[in-house]
Symmetry: none
Subunit: 282 residues, 2 copies
């Protein structure tokens, strides 16, 4: 059992991780050890006080160095599901982690979902093979696989389902199983009645399926934690960075604009202090 699970390796997560570590809390920190790809790709950043005008690459390197100095470690396991039977349980790459408090610093998801995807979330659409694969035993499903690292999840789904229609969003997909049929045209829409019953491809073809698994890098916050209050793409937070779920806090771009490093770092700090208070009351 960890004191805190931080989901997200950008500036907000780093800010919170440093403060929580300095205050002696035990952490599990989920994120890419490369830190923030968004920072990395920024051409130039001038308004983060103390660093002057600096390239995103250089800033990201500073962030990594600071994490190293503090002996902070990250795991690149992808969190796909958070539940709250009593404390928090996080499912990441088929492993379960427990924590007393959770901080979401998941950024904003720029990948636009398929038309109808959100509407049918939980009614045929799933983001988690481990969580939901079981329910598609002997059925027909579609799978969007966004990266090579999810291929074993596709294979797991193929063990469950009778037929898998797979579209891979990258060139060299290696999944080759008898019951996995490759879609030649990308998925663009989810259709159905009360439950989804088909995916529509870009070429107009309609493929009847019982479910669709979207295996992408980022998971929308609502699908990460059922019951979490959101407004559009953003998690609703109070000034202390608390959410409507007790013990769950959020910081950084996922809480709304301005999408700025200074703002993310500030909220990470506030969230860390709110978590300290929450833990001391427990």
């Amino acid at each position: 059992m960890f004191d805190v699970a931080i989901v997200g390796g950008g500036p907000a997560g780093l800010s919170a991780a440093i403060t929580l570590k300095m205050r002696g809390k035990s952490l599990i920190w989920f994120g890419s050890p490369a830190m923030s790809p968004k920072v990395e790709k920024s051409h130039r950043i001038g308004n983060y006080p103390g660093l002057g005008v600096i390239s995103g690459e250089e800033m990201n390197a500073r962030f990594r160095a600071h994490a190293q100095e503090m002996e902070l470690e990250m795991t690149d396991k992808l969190v796909t599901m958070i539940s709250r039977p009593k404390d928090f349980m996080l499912l990441a790459d088929n492993e379960v982690f427990e924590a007393r408090a959770v901080l979401l610093c998941t950024g904003v998801i720029s990948t636009k979902g398929f038309a109808g995807e959100e509407e049918y979330l939980g009614r045929g659409v799933s983001y988690c093979a481990t969580c939901d694969g079981f329910f598609y035993k002997g059925k027909t499903i579609a799978v969007f696989c966004g990266a090579k690292r999810y291929e074993d999840e596709v294979e797991y789904l193929a063990q469950m389902a009778e037929t898998v229609y797979l579209y891979a969003g990258y060139p060299d997909c290696a999944v080759a199983l008898d019951n996995v049929k490759r879609l030649e045209s990308p998925i663009v829409q989810v259709k159905g009645g009360l439950k989804m019953n088909a995916v529509v491809l870009k070429d107009g073809t309609e493929v009847p399926v019982d479910g669709l698994f979207c295996l992408r890098g980022a998971v929308a916050p609502t699908s990460l934690m059922p019951g979490l209050e959101t407004e559009g793409a953003h998690i609703v937070t109070k000034r202390d960075c608390s959410t409507n779920v007790e013990g769950c806090f959020a910081a950084g771009d996922c809480t709304g604009a301005p999408y700025q490093i200074a703002k993310a770092v500030g909220e990470g700090n506030i969230a860390a202090h709110s978590i300290l208070e929450f833990l001391s009351k427990k």
Copy 2:
């Protein structure tokens, strides 16, 4: 007539000033060209992402350098009154300045301290368990705890220090740890050479310690602006850093705890963006 008047030269003011300048707004910035005396006197700061573990002096120098790089100028005229006949009028050292929007980053003013407290600030005296507790591992410290809400900070300090001499400024202090010794007589003075080395109690006892943490509530800043809504020591702000006075925003320690550089910088950034929006609507 300036677009924005920023009152306060600490990290929140700097963060806002950089962003507003980059966005082409005209500024009058009131503060000490030495930047933040509070930052300057911090012994060591470890939780401002990107700068590693750094002395307050060095951090303040980085802040000054960033301001210089951005060609930001400050005036050390003291603002004593802000009124709002139509736009804002600021009275500073008998001169009047006008601005369309105002940002207050005035910090918090602490209560009257113990004799010698200010003298040894940064040389043994600290106001922040999170910031400095780490540096007293295995040492002997005194703590003045001003309110029940700081008890978890006392407990954190007790985890770090070998021995804590605690005086609580209220009746029902619940801290009970083996290495926390209660002082029966209140602390009245800080003594030492180049660094502090003892606190003196009201009954004349001298207690040798390596440091003193003063955990107090902050005191209300002098009301610069009539009608500004405050709560105790703090200016009441919404998430976008707006106050109840249209066109007046606030950021940093003056809006409430945590009193942290990261939080101040984050709020300065948010306030700058809110001001940009406010000015574009005018």
